[in-house]
């Protein structure tokens, strides 16, 4: 399968990456080269083969059902969470207006 310039523009939009005309032109052949190369996976007979779900088999654990079971991943750290935000106001992340 190969992709067109329009396809690549759509992928860029889905990935939320702005691309100008020049970047799109450069990306199309690169993309198609890589896709042509991964095409060879189609040769492999995978009938009856399950896709891998866990590389090392292990049971999923449940954590204790308590608030802040681990203080590092628990709540109550608003200042830490907002410390690196480009814009934070009144204890919230700031974003451009989304409703007209």
């Amino acid at each position: 399968m190969s992709v067109t310039r329009e396809d690549v523009a759509k992928i860029a939009k889905l990935a939320r990456i702005a691309m100008d005309e020049q970047e799109l032109d450069r990306m199309v052949p690169e993309f198609n080269n890589i896709l042509a190369w991964v095409e060879q996976l189609g040769e492999v007979d995978t009938a009856g083969v399950e896709p891998m779900t866990a590389v090392i088999p292990q049971a999923l654990r449940l954590r204790d059902d308590v608030i802040d079971a681990d203080p590092q991943t628990g709540g109550g750290r608003q200042d830490d969470v907002l410390a690196n935000a480009p814009v934070a106001e009144h204890g919230f992340y700031g974003v451009p207006k989304v409703i007209e």
């Binding site: 939320r16 991964v38 040769e43 995978t46 090392i56 292990q58 654990r61 690196n84």
Partner: protein, 493 residues
């Protein structure tokens, strides 16, 4: 006094414990070496004060007669993919420039606990995507090695290129690396040092900037097998904060080192004899088999029939996971925000990501977006995950006939910077021998074997059964003892 920067992990920790020198003297020596090596561009930020602070704590603990940690007094480099509390963590990207975590990754916290100090944050390929350390926003890393009779700057490999360059140049006795599809082993091979990627889940991923979560594993890079064994012991262990952390005891790998391989079988995978592999690599592989035979092992041929499909499968699986993991970089929560005049939220996302991601990162995020998109998911992603199952089954079958697998780490030695980056595919092929073990989650190590006719190091790779880091380290030790690898890069920086 001996030049302290020539010492490795074990020599430093034993010397500090015995009182031959202080941890502070060691930290000062390495801080000075780091400062004098800016031409390598191995560090994104240096933290000499952190190295000294940790050293002083070790010296004070020793003076009080306290029990010292397994790496007490050893200053190390930290790949800038590990979140470090209060110290900028960038993944070598513009989008995370200035990001200063308010928490410490589990692996780095364990190393500080063991008595290490931090020399600085090491450069890498951006978001660990690359095999040459040419995709960093903070510039290429140079290998300390050069071809004989040439001044051309060589690649230290990638993505852990700052780590490999620093350890090979003796400006750090050891460094952390991470390996998603060869990012510890390939740079170790390119620079004549050792590096081990443990079994998936051995080292916690908590606080490590995510690339491809089902593949990412941290591991040590150092100049000897025993140094790697010591450091891996300090890094590994169960962490409830990582859902895929292995809940298993950490063996005493250093104490268990044993190069006597009598009764062990070493598998030589016939499919690794690929076109395009240099003759010198093939010769070193042959030599490696002889060394292991000399150590008492029996050499057997094994087959890993899906080897040629591992790399294309990896280039679907890893970008797919990356496209999902990197969705978090949106200009809202941390890092860069690019808000064009009058732009709305969606435009801000797209502008921020366009400005903050490098070309290789964009390529992989878009490739991942494509293979996961409606209509293509089964043809690409599901098929790749089925192939991944087959690659793992190949290893299961091979380990029915042998205990450890010996293969080259890379198809070529290091190459000059800027020589391969016109074509992403050629670059990807660097990891053709490294990726299968990653897809199967197996422990794998690179140890230096020899140097080429023009003076560049070559590494050999050992792959073991899941959880058998000891078998990998032991075979690595047997090679190290026989290879007699003493070559060092001549100082030009």
């Amino acid at each position: 006094m001996t030049d302290l920067t020539s010492l490795g992990v074990r020599e430093i920790r034993d010397g500090v414990a015995a009182g031959n020198f202080t941890a502070r003297e060691v930290a000062e020596a390495f801080n000075a070496a780091v400062e004098a090596a800016t031409a390598l561009n191995a560090f994104i930020v240096t933290t000499p004060e952190k190295a000294l602070e940790a050293a002083d704590a070790v010296d004070a603990a020793r003076a009080k007669g306290e029990t010292l940690g397994s790496m007490a007094g050893v200053p190390i480099g930290m790949k800038d993919l590990f979140a470090t509390d209060g110290v900028q963590t960038t993944a070598a990207s513009h989008i995370l420039e200035g990001f200063t975590p308010r928490y410490e990754s589990t692996v780095s916290a364990k190393l500080w606990e063991a008595g290490c100090g931090m020399l600085g944050k090491l450069n890498l390929d951006q978001f660990a995507m690359g095999s040459s350390n040419e995709t960093s926003y903070f510039g290429n890393v140079c290998s300390p090695w050069r071809k004989e009779g040439s001044n051309a700057a060589m690649s230290p490999g990638g993505s852990s290129g700052g780590s490999s360059s620093a350890v090979a140049a003796r400006i750090a006795p050891a460094a952390t690396g991470t390996d998603t599809g060869g990012s510890i082993r390939q740079p170790a091979a390119f620079t004549g040092i050792c590096g081990i990627k443990p079994t998936y889940g051995r080292c916690s991923r908590w606080g490590v900037v995510a690339f491809a979560s089902s593949l990412d594993q941290a591991g040590p890079m150092a100049r000897s097998v025993e140094d790697c064994a010591i450091m891996l012991g300090a890094m590994a262990g169960f962490d409830p904060k990582d859902a895929t952390s292995l809940d298993a005891p950490v063996p005493d790998w250093f104490g268990g080192l044993n190069a006597d391989l009598r009764g062990k079988k070493v598998g030589i995978p016939k499919e690794y004899r690929m076109d395009g592999t240099s003759q010198e690599i093939l010769d070193s592989w042959e030599k490696g088999a002889e060394w292991l035979r000399d150590a008492g092992a029996e050499i057997v041929e094994v087959s890993l029939p899906h080897t040629k499909y591992a790399l294309p499968a990896y280039y679907i699986v890893a970008p797919a996971e990356a496209s999902s993991n990197l969705a978090r970089y949106d200009g809202v929560r941390y890092g860069l925000r690019d808000l064009p005049e009058g732009a709305g939220l969606q435009d801000m996302y797209a502008a921020t990501r366009a400005a903050g991601f490098g070309d290789e990162v964009k390529r992989r995020v878009m490739l991942g977006t494509y293979v996961l998109s409606a209509g293509f998911y089964d043809a690409y992603y599901t098929q790749a995950m089925k192939v991944r199952t087959l690659v793992q089954r190949d290893f299961d079958a091979a380990f029915g006939q042998c205990d450890v697998i010996l293969a080259p780490t890379t198809p070529t030695p290091s190459f000059p910077l800027n020589s391969l980056n016109d074509d992403p595919l050629t670059m990807y092929l660097n990891d053709v021998f490294a990726v299968p073990a990653s897809l199967a989650g197996l422990p794998a190590m690179s140890v230096p074997a020899t140097v080429t006719a023009d003076g560049l190091p070559l590494g050999l790779q050992l792959v073991g059964r899941a959880m058998d880091e000891q078998g990998v380290l032991n075979a690595g030790l047997a090679i190290e003892q026989r290879a007699g690898f003493v070559a060092k890069p001549e100082r030009w920086w």
